[in-house]
Amino acid sequence: MTLTAPTTELPPAPPQGRGGRPGQLTATRRREALTGYLFTAPTIIGFLVFVLGPLVAAIYLSLTKYNILTAPKFVGIENYVRMFRDERLATTYGNTVLYVGAAVVLINGFALLFAVLINQRLPRALTYVFRSAYFFPYLVALVYVSIIWQALFQKDTGILNYYITALGGERIDWLNSSEFSKVSVIIVDTWRNVGFAMLIFVAALQEVPKDMVEAARMDGANEWQIFRRITVPMISQATFFNITITIIGAFQIYESIIVLTRGGPGDASRSVVMYIAEVAFNKFDMGYASAIAVTLFLIIMLVTLVQFRLRKSWVNNE
């Protein structure tokens, strides 16, 4: 990679300067380059030691058998082959994909709905109150909100079931049935993240040119047509960003499940990250856990790269 190479090179001398003697200019540019490297050094070192190095190590470990006590033994792609026969992996990946699908649809659906509603001409104070209420859960640790929700979800003492039975419904075993344990995880995930996605949509909606909407209205377009033909295309960037963020976030879902259901009953609500943690840190099967983690990395990389490509080069967007 081109990461470390530049640090050892001296900057090429510029062909010509904007004034002054060429030698002096080169010295200035060298100094500037040196400053650049010094300024970025802590970040680059942190990146090499805590991101790139571990990433490479994880890929290497994924090709080994390693139980921490004895040295890693190279086994080629055995760990990857093993995944295909691992039923627990299939279950946990299946659950995770369900969480991802639910997150994409529910978070973005509700977020867009609330964003459109909030974006109307409402009294400023009201807009502020709504924004705050929807956004606040996003600032609170997922662990904390999950702790609150697990109390609300309790079968006999939880207030959710209290209201459900008060309305004539049956008590739901939110946390201990194989279907509803997943539903509970999805509810908490949606509830916590909808506010952030909503803010992204609101910011995008405010960029939609008002005169364009007015012109369409003059031409007799109804609100639905305006929404469908003008708003949706205009906010596509934000939509895409939100979808990417929700996919990546939901693939990594972890602590809410720990608090709500502990992955249970059985593996009914267990996510793939929980499974990785279990294989790595309870069974100390580090090689296999690394292989699963690498598949997760590949998925997230793919999703991100698609986002990068579809968005007009944000790196060089100066």
Partner: protein, 293 residues
């Protein structure tokens, strides 16, 4: 749930609102109010329960507003078997150290990537940005082995060291410095300021808001973190607050719910303070990178 109804009714509003805008608006305000209640209610329940006697914590029908202001659960929570105050201190030390590190390293790097010319600048930046797509779960095993090799497991440094630098902060600050007119930098250099002086005395003060936002975001991210702490820390004395609260809750929510809610209320306080003080900046900086560009 009421939310499902909200979704279908919302579609209807959009279609029907034109002939009767007044009604459309009241429907949408009603929906927003309903949603907002759904967002706030769990926190309200948490707070009310934290003020109730433990034996009444699960009384039904639920009470939404505190009827008495009994702080016993708070004193019980902090003096219980899980050292919540200690855990809070651990969280605070880690979060403060990480935030300070980040607001020193990220603006420097962001400035260099935006305003200094050096070979490899763009490729290094792209490589750095690409670390945003490396999930923590992939690096956690090698990091665990690294921390173990250096004897840093069960030590706050295992969370501080990887936290003091990061691509997101560099990205945010680079965006800010790109918007800074080059003339300001050039003028300072003309006047004989060194690169460091130009950065420290001219550029950095102008980035005050961006740096504060970064500090706040970093602090909250660390304060709220669960995954890495749950793997690197394994004793109640080194545990951070989220770990302490999960311990306190116990398996299957068996802990004393009123005390747990009291502790959770304390744990949420920093987020609430940040929210009240800095909500606007955070919203602005989080949303701008998504919408522009």
């Amino acid at each position: 749930m009421s939310n499902t109804n909200a979704l279908s009714a919302g579609g209807g509003t959009a279609r029907r609102s034109r002939p009767r805008p007044g009604i459309g608006k009241s429907i949408s305000v009603a929906l927003l109010v309903l949603g907002a209640i759904g967002m706030v209610a769990p926190f309200l329940w948490m707070f009310t329960t934290s003020l109730r006697d433990a034996s009444h914590a699960y009384d039904l029908p639920p009470q939404w507003l505190p009827t008495e202001w009994d702080w016993t659960n708070y004193t019980d929570a902090v003096s219980g078997p899980v050292p919540i105050l200690r855990n809070m201190l651990n969280s605070a030390v880690i979060a403060i150290a990480v935030s300070i590190g980040m607001i020193v390293t990220a603006p420097m790097a962001g400035y260099a990537f935006a305003k200094l010319d050096f070979p490899g600048r763009n490729s290094i930046f792209v490589a750095l940005l690409s670390s945003l797509m490396v999930p923590a779960q992939v690096t956690i095993i090698p990091l665990f082995l690294l921390m173990r090799a250096f004897g840093l497991l069960d030590n706050p440094l295992s969370l501080i060291l990887p936290g003091v630098t990061g691509a997101l902060g560099v990205f945010l600050l680079r965006q800010f410095f790109l918007g800074l007119p080059q003339e300001i930098i050039d003028a300072a250099r003309m006047d004989g300021a060194t690169a460091w002086q130009t950065y420290r005395l001219i550029a950095l003060p102008l980035a005050k808001n961006a740096v504060s936002t970064l500090g706040v975001i970093t602090f909250l991210g660390s304060w709220n973190a669960y995954f890495a702490p749950s793997i690197f820390l394994n004793s109640t004395d080194t545990a951070t607050l989220p770990l302490g609260l999960v311990l306190m809750l116990g398996p299957y929510g068996a802990g004393n719910v009123a005390q747990v809610m009291a502790a959770t209320t304390i744990a949420i306080a920093p987020a609430l303070i940040v929210f009240l003080v800095a909500q606007r900046w955070i919203i602005a900086s989080l949303t701008q990178s998504a919408v522009k560009g």
